[in-house]
């Protein structure tokens, strides 16, 4: 029997196991929406902006490990979703985005709402397709899902002209895909893995540097085995948080620009860096020429371009983390003995010393302004038994969340690392909530970032996605203000956000619940109230505006040279300055 392009689209999605589609309609995709409207297998979540749809699909993908799917219209629908595609590309998120296109006969004519979707998305997708013939649609969709989810995952765009969604074709879904130019390597080179095992046996100061790739590969178990067997400390990247239990004694927490003191010191003084599914981003390496000066480097990555892109590697292993670690563990199991423990005792003594010398610190006074770290810490303690999924926006609050919210498992951490997209957090949390209706999903947001996709509160209310948003409201683009304080003599060029909007009233206006924490003593009670609510909630927490995030390696700085607290001139300046005090802020907000 022949099906229309729109019907084929839906049949393909069903075969790919898609349950949820994040979408916003428009002229050229009306046929697809009309067909979707007449079926029940796939839930359509109508977002209020296409960027929201894209980030929701990302959140869905990160939480489930499957491809997230979104559908947008031509022209402005497409340009609106670009930020989410670019975000997914940088963070290797498997995404399949369908865009509408003007009818094939009009392509290139500057037709109404025409945009060159293929050209626009080329640099921010893993691959993209324009489907010119309905007979190619099913095979194209199959390839799109295959490319998005295999190898190094990433976003794929499928551009469907209006006439293709309306034309009919015989429907057959291919069983398999074979693309001659695309054959990701999963098996690591055996000889190289053996070299790695030998280096690990010999190392006196080894460190595991693990990232998002471990999560994509589902290799947490193998990583745990490796670390425990060899007693090697584990540094996680921002994207790797959760792939190794944050509370584990071997965990050093996050490394990099705002990483812990011990994580960065251990990297710097290590004699063997074992990088697994991490890409030596500049937020981690700092000054490349002085990065890990004493170490040999092993690098396991499925994407050959990640290897030797930024730094030299001694033992490169192209392959999938899980497959490679299994093989590595197998070799090590036969060789590891008590000797390594003795060999590494001085290393561990040194690490424990670093940990004690400079743990993460902040000072919360009993009746002083609320410190942002305190909010994250209490949120963590109050929710950890519920195994929550946590999203963040971008800024200081993101870094505090990374430092204080210790995740136990992978697929619980939704954050924008590579692109650093403000406005990512809330829609991403909604995407995860759509995948797991009964789980607790938290969004730790900044007062600046949340306003970049605030409109999705309407979606959250209508589609019943009871995300709990906790806004660390410092009245600033806090991360920008921190840099201005440290590097621009405290000139706050366009970083002061003022005290509007009233987030409580805003939540209420949308039909959600709004709560505010007025003093630190109320924090627990209000958080508990929010957690007990079955609707979307905003908890507005006015926090101390001038808190800075430490440790900090200034951009281009060296990993063992961290700023650990405000420099003296800054401390002096903050006392008695004419800036808005938290009390003023609270008055305005509650007025």
């Amino acid at each position: 029997m022949k099906l229309t392009g729109a019907e084929i689209f839906i049949e393909c999605l069903k075969r790919e196991g898609v349950k949820t589609l994040f979408a916003l309609p428009g002229g050229v995709v009306l046929k697809i929406f009309d067909t979707l409207h007449q079926q029940k297998d796939i839930e359509v979540i109508l977002t209020r902006h296409e960027q929201g749809a894209g980030h929701m699909a990302e959140g869905y993908a990160k939480a489930t490990g499957k491809a997230g799917v979104c559908l947008v219209t031509s022209g402005p629908g497409m340009t609106n979703v670009i930020t989410a595609l670019a975000d997914a590309y940088m963070d290797s998120v498997p995404l399949v985005c369908f865009s509408g296109q003007v009818p094939t006969s009009l392509i290139g004519n500057d037709a109404f709402q025409e945009a060159d979707n293929i050209g626009l998305s080329r640099p921010c997708t893993k691959y993209n397709f324009l489907v010119k013939d309905v007979n190619d649609l099913a095979a194209t969709i199959k390839e799109a899902f295959y490319i998005a989810t295999t190898g190094r995952p990433g976003p794929v765009l499928v551009d469907i002209p209006k006439d293709v969604s309306m034309a009919k074709a015989e429907f057959t879904y291919p069983n398999s895909v074979s693309i001659r130019g695309y054959n990701p390597t999963y098996e690591g080179n055996k000889w190289q893995i053996k070299q790695a095992a030998e280096a690990i046996m010999k190392a006196k100061k080894p460190i595991l540097y693990v990232g998002g790739g471990v999560g994509f590969s589902g290799a947490s178990q193998e990583l745990l085995e490796l670390a425990e067997m060899t007693q090697i400390p584990v540094d996680m990247t921002l994207m790797g948080l959760g792939v190794f239990p944050g509370e584990h004694p071997l965990s050093m927490g996050m490394l990099g620009m705002h990483g812990t003191y011990e994580a960065n010191m251990a990297m710097h003084y290590s004699d063997l860096v074992i990088a697994v599914g991490a890409r030596f981003d500049d937020r981690v390496t700092g000054k490349v020429s002085e990065f890990c000066p004493y170490a040999k480097v092993i690098h396991v990555d499925i994407d050959p371009t990640s290897i030797r892109k930024n730094i030299n590697v001694d033992i490169p292993i192209v392959g999938d983390c899980k497959t490679v670690l299994r093989e590595l563990n197998q070799i090590l199991r036969a060789t590891v003995n008590g000797e390594q423990k003795d060999l590494r005792k001085p290393w561990w003594d040194q690490i424990r010393e670093w940990q004690q010398a400079h743990p993460l610190v902040y000072h919360q006074e009993q009746d002083g302004p609320i410190k942002p770290q305190q909010v994250v810490k209490r949120l963590y303690e109050l929710t950890k038994d519920r195994d929550p999924i946590v999203s963040t926006d971008v800024g200081q609050h993101q870094m505090w969340a990374a430092q204080y919210f210790k995740l136990g498992k992978p697929n619980r951490w939704l954050t924008s690392g590579g692109l650093g997209t403000m406005g990512f957090g809330f829609p991403a949390a909604m995407g995860a909530q759509a995948a797991f209706r009964n789980r607790l999903v938290l969004c730790i947001a900044g007062d600046g970032s949340i306003q970049m996709n605030m409109q999705e509160m309407a979606t959250a209310v209508v589609s019943k996605l009871p995300v709990k948003i906790i806004i660390l409201n410092n009245g600033f683009h806090g991360m920008v203000r921190q840099w201005q304080d440290l590097f621009y003599e405290g000139r706050y060029a366009s970083s002061n956000l003022g005290t509007t909007p009233d987030f409580v009233k805003l939540a209420e206006a949308y039909g959600a619940v709004g709560l505010r924490v007025k003093k630190v003593g109320d924090l627990d009670a209000i958080l508990k109230e929010a957690l007990a609510t079955d609707k979307p909630v905003i908890v507005d927490v006015p926090t101390y505006p001038y808190e800075n995030c430490y440790p900090m390696i200034p951009a281009g700085g060296c990993n063992h040279e961290m700023l650990l607290e405000d420099p003296p001139e800054l401390k002096k300046k903050q006392v008695g300055s004419e800036k808005v005090t938290p009390e003023d802020k609270d008055t305005v907000l509650t007025a």
Partner: protein
């Protein structure tokens, strides 16, 4: 250092822009790029002349390999290869100059492929040095038009694509 990279790609819509976009987006150099179908009509052959240090060339090769429409990448500098470029040069020629032009054509084993009362159109093939040389000699006569194909190249012996070689290098 200059490298000649031979890239076998899918012969389909948009592939050239993916390759060109890769070079411009990542700030890699393209000195010349030529593309044409192969014996198998489903594939095209690109010859890209680029330059950069070892690290950059390695990234270029890896990034090209990563493109889904790229089937095979060979860095010809890793083997022995032969390369050619063709130029078509239209020179202004009057009276005595015409004889001089023909003499130069002869020396370089070039061909006159068109002639009008005031011009010769000359075709010359060779390595870039030879082409530079003939251009230099023809310049005093007055070059009206010059087009060059960019280089095409082929390895002298069959070679393995770079991905396989990279592993070998890593093992050493």
């Amino acid at each position: 250092m200059e490298h000649i990279i031979s890239v076998t790609v899918e012969n389909k819509f948009g592939v050239l822009s993916r390759v060109a976009g890769l070079f411009s987006g990542r700030g890699f150099n393209i000195e010349s790029l030529s593309v044409a179908p192969t014996l198998d009509p489903s594939m095209s052959q690109m010859t890209i002349v680029t330059s950069g240090d070892e690290r950059i060339i390695e990234q270029i090769v890896k990034q090209l390999n990563k493109l889904i429409d790229v089937i095979k990448v060979v860095d010809l500098n890793e083997t022995e290869f032969v390369s050619r470029e063709t130029a078509i040069i239209k020179v202004h020629t009057k009276d005595a100059d015409r004889a001089e032009a023909l003499r130069i054509v002869d020396i370089f084993r070039a061909n006159v492929i068109d002639s009008t009362p005031s011009t010769y159109t000359i075709e010359v093939s060779g390595d870039p040095k030879k082409i530079e040389a003939i251009i230099n000699l023809l310049q005093p006569l007055g070059i009206k038009d010059l087009v060059r194909t960019g280089r095409v190249a082929v390895a002298r012996e069959p070679v393995r694509p770079v991905a396989a070689q990279a592993k070998k290098v890593a093992r050493d």
